[in-house]
């Protein structure tokens, strides 16, 4: 397993695992909104990152989170570097990098602690079309599988003397061809066989799909969701409207 490890569900027994997906979705949305629309300064963004880190500690998934973050630090660095090259503002560029880290980290908190089935159940209740929900769920399921396939492909090409790294940027793009084409072919083959497997078991037979063991949020969880959303509204108002009391 690799960089995708922090984006896939693992069974656990932390309170985050037991929490209904509804307030968790609200918390993740709050993270996104706070990182993108509300806070622009280094200190607040760093604090947001730190809070997501504490959530991961609470969920006891540091190891997997870290394997995703390692990769993300690299991407964040590239984002910051490009911003700095083109805009020349150091603080802003670093903030952009941290913003990316906050988003990945918050998403990791959610995906590590929420089974795709639970997400799907919430989406269905919220009125999303069932086929869309299934497609969403399956693409999440395929992510670690695809990472594994990508590794196998890289191994096979490297065994034929293939070397991806080069200083020449045009060559670098060309160098991904022997990796991307097999990956695409394999993905299409998997999608095709998944579709056949679904259809042979009656997918699409009826519009009225029954659900087994659906998880209802408790009063406390609905209240938490409302509180998180209220906090978000207040933060947005505070940021964009001058409310001096």
């Amino acid at each position: 397993m690799s960089w995708a490890a922090g984006l896939t569900f693992v069974h656990g027994n932390s309170w985050l695992h037991r929490l209904n997906p509804l307030p968790k979705i609200a918390i993740v949305i709050l993270f996104f909104v706070a990182a993108i629309y509300i806070y622009q300064d280094l200190l607040h963004l760093a604090l947001l990152f730190f809070i997501s880190l504490m959530l991961i500690v609470a969920a006891k998934q540091m190891k997997r989170w870290w394997s995703t973050m390692k990769m993300s630090f690299l991407v964040a660095f590239i984002i910051a570097l490009l911003d700095y090259i083109f805009l020349g503002e150091l603080a802003f560029s670093v903030a952009m990098g941290i913003r990316f880290l906050v988003i990945v980290s918050a998403f990791s908190v959610y995906s590590l602690t929420t089974s795709p089935e639970d997400t799907a159940a919430v989406m269905t209740r919220a009125g999303f079309p069932y086929s869309l929900v299934v497609a969403f769920m399956m693409s999440i399921r395929f992510l670690p599988l695809l990472a594994q396939e990508a590794q196998n492909i890289i191994d096979a090409q490297r065994s034929r003397g293939f070397n991806m790294s080069t200083r020449n940027p045009i060559k670098l793009v060309k160098n991904y061809v022997p990796i991307l084409i097999p990956l695409m072919v394999i993905s299409l083959m998997k999608a095709d066989s998944a579709a056949q497997a679904l259809e042979t078991r009656g997918f699409g037979y009826s519009k009225n799909v029954s659900s087994y063991g659906s998880i209802k949020p408790s009063f406390y969880e609905i209240a938490l969701t409302a509180a998180v959303l209220a906090l978000m509204v207040i933060l947005i108002l505070n940021r964009y409207i001058d409310i001096t009391i």
Binding site: M1, S2, A5, K63, R64, S67, E149, N152, I153, D155, A156, Q157, R158, S159, R160, G161, F162, N163, V177, P178, I179, I181, P182, V185, I186, M189
Partner: protein, 268 residues
Amino acid sequence: MSIISFDGVYYTYPLSEKPALNGMTLEISKGERVALLGGNGAGKTTALKHVNGLLRPNKGSVKIYGEDTRKTNTSNLSRKVGIVFQNPNHQLFAQTCWDEVAFALKNFGYDDLEIEKRVESTLRFFGLWDYKDESPFLLSVGEKKRLTIASVLIYEPQILVLDEPTAGQDIEQKKKIGNLLSSFKGEAVIASTHDMDFAARNFSRVVIMSSGKIVADGPTRDIFYMGDWKSAGILEPQTVSIAKITGISSHPLTSEEFVEAFKEEVAK
């Protein structure tokens, strides 16, 4: 001198709890043909990926021609070690079969004249010349497999490594792959396989793995007649089972050998 040497190799995949290789020690000398047997998850693929440095031991060492894999890189090692992986879809990418087999030669910096010469002779040898302008994706399962073997053998590695070469192949293809192995001019072949008959026909030495360790290692005939390896997830070739039941003493490994031995017993 051994050309492949595993010395007390331990390897655990990142984020995995259980070691995939658990103190594996193995020496392979020039001229040997070794079949690596073992049930699913025994560690065969993991072991093979150590031969060209795609994976490096957490503990212990792997040496190829005396060179520690940790002190060199996969590009250097793959010059000497050719690995053909199980699933052709993990490597086929080029527009034509011609380009697919030329890929390694380009990576290793061969000149145009040499590339043309080698691609033609290799494709002809593998019976794929007629498909030289076709897409690799349009070939049959057996042809794809042969194309992947061709795309590695074309640069004449001294050591040939195959991961489950007969998986999903029919009898005809298995025979062809067996013939390709016997025509291999390099110094050593090591192949993992589930196919006991294939192992018995093509390999002089058998290594049995279970839970990341080697549990048996020796000449093919001795290993299959010494005992049964059911605990390692292995069933002996059917010929061996029948020979054991009928009490034929010359230890045949293939159906042809069995028929010969049977005729002799009857004549007695």
